[in-house]
Subunit: 353 residues, 2 copies
């Protein structure tokens, strides 16, 4: 049971499917067949100037600025899920990591590890999705690599994207900049990506269709900076969810963080699904949500700026930074009790991204 | 039958092997266990300033220069082979792609896809090898990512490295710069990497031990540029070997290339192994060899500069660029006959890098 994103069917696969219905080992062999795949499918689709040069490295022109550089591999299962797919995830995930440094994402690399026997049409859908996501996020794919592993030694498609962005501000956006008194702003409701993937993987049907929140986050972040918000720290809420992200920051910054459960939005259908599955939404992965640590005096303005963007229209202040207990996150429940939020020690949802 | 590089056993694995003898899914889960692995094994070993910041992106300071950016995934089987291992390959392979743009390699990202059940000690050996290779090549690992896939959905370790380098010259090192009359200079003997991997994979024993030529190439390349060689094009001879690299350049540049078989060094043991296995050394992968296209008047100087470095001590002129036949490589054999060299259409040695 796989879901394909609606816009993926517009273009026909440029490799003759009759001749090559599936990926074969030679598609990674460095010879004629690999070159055809790269030229006809990848370069023709992604076609940026730098990629067209077809040289070992892409040449980038970045004048006099600080750069951000990040990498992520993507092994999500299944490849297609409500609201997204591995291609979209691979672009937005890396773009979002750059955004969390306050960088403007510019360039992506794309490494593919394909399993022998992968349907060529599936590869094409992933390539199209990467292309559309890159356009939506305003980044260029400038360099790539393709490897094929034997059947049973991979799982369809694994992707790696690395990203380069420029930093056009003088802020130090990092846990070390977090200060006692800072407000914690959350950009929207949590838990959708994890539940969307889990539901399709397990064949679960809920009353409403829960779609992944998978989306690029650079625009709202750059708007915060442009509006003069003195952003102290940003973190996207991927594997491990809101809880792990906030605990990591509390530990790295040596501060306490107090969160108000009542102000953390969780959609009713997501909450219901979490109850059925035995998950705590605080730990469920997101792919289009982040927290911002900002001076309390700028918290309202932060929320106002974020709400201008569809992806963060439900932004709200969910807590504050306290002097103690150091390295600890405390959650005040709706009924007024408090509990310490810890990092997940094991695994909640494997292969969620 | 696996070979470990001799220097890999110096440090004990920083993860308690009794407690975690193998990688488990939770090592990729975003929780406490993944954080321990990252902190104790990866950050503690690679420990660059940028990596220590533990933020979503590494911040790079690169003043006013053109940048080169490249990516490669590594799926070599087996993980350890005579003369190298997947870690060394992942560092040198990407460093060499940067060098082939004439860039000075500076920063690497590291993405790991680990298979559940991978022995922790094996992971540690790979990590150590990456660390040593990065030191040898003068690059810093500044950002990373770890994913774990279920048993049977991967093959021990897949790596991706992306690299950023600076270009400190004004040359356009690319196939388009190749000119009729250029000399083709080869940096050393060919075929060792492919044969070394194949021999250990197939359990073959040759009279002498054939080791991979796996090595970083930035030093000799930067020396050529520093010595004023007007380098037109560079290409390392990885998957598809010398033949595929040269055919690719002939096609992209729209020129003919004539090679002299007698001047292409192949070690006797490698030649013998190729005969036994039915391989043509021209197509066998290398991981420490490259060709340089330079003006004929600078060919001797090019060879002289390259021979200063151990990795290219056997450099020699192996051919020249001709006006016709366009896009075609012709090999003149020892006995004076000529044959057209084509790109491999299928697969000679899968998973060689």
């Amino acid at each position: 049971m796989t879901e394909l994103s609606s816009s993926s069917f517009q273009l026909a696969c440029p490799i003759p499917i009759q001749q090559y219905p599936t990926v074969v080992m030679a598609h990674g062999g460095g010879g004629r067949l690999m070159h055809q795949l790269i030229e006809k499918m990848f370069v023709a689709t992604f076609g940026s100037g730098a990629l067209n040069a077809r040289h070992d490295s892409a040449l980038l022109q970045v004048p006099r600025m600080r750069l951000a550089f990040t990498t992520d591999s993507y092994v999500v299962r299944p490849l297609f899920f409500p609201g997204g797919d591995i291609g979209k995830l691979a672009v937005y995930g890396t773009v979002n990591d750059l955004a969390m440094s306050g960088a403007r994402p510019l360039y992506l690399s794309l490494g593919m590890i394909l399993e022998e026997g992968l349907p060529m049409e599936t590869l094409w859908q992933v390539v199209l999705s990467i292309h559309q996501a890159a356009q939506a996020a305003g980044v260029q794919i400038v360099t790539g690599d393709t490897k094929v592993v034997d059947r049973g030694k991979g799982d369809g498609v694994f992707l790696n994207t690395s990203g380069v962005g420029v930093i056009e501000h003088n802020l130090t956006i990092a846990p070390q900049s977090v200060q006692v008194g800072d407000a914690v702003v959350l950009s929207g409701d949590i838990g959708r990506h994890g539940i969307a993937v889990m539901a399709v993987r397990e064949g679960l049907q809920f009353e409403s269709r829960i779609e992944s929140d998978c989306a690029p986050l650079a625009e709202p972040v750059l708007a915060l900076i442009a509006e003069g918000i003195e952003v102290h720290c940003l973190r996207d809420l991927t594997r491990g969810g809101l809880a792990s992200a906030v605990v990591e920051i509390a530990e790295a910054a040596g501060v306490g963080i107090q969160l108000e459960e009542a102000r953390i939005p969780v959609r009713e259908d997501v909450r219901g699904a979490c109850e059925i599955l035995g998950f705590d939404p605080l730990y469920v992965a997101n792919e289009g949500r982040f927290v911002a640590f900002v001076p309390a005096a700028q918290a309202e303005k932060t929320v106002e700026v974020l709400r201008r963007f569809a992806v963060s229209v439900n932004a709200d202040i969910i807590g504050e930074v306290t002097a103690s207990p150091e390295g600890t996150v405390v959650l005040r429940s709706v009924i007024g009790t408090s509990r310490v939020v810890d990092m997940l020690s094991g695994e909640q949802l494997p292969r969620i991204c």
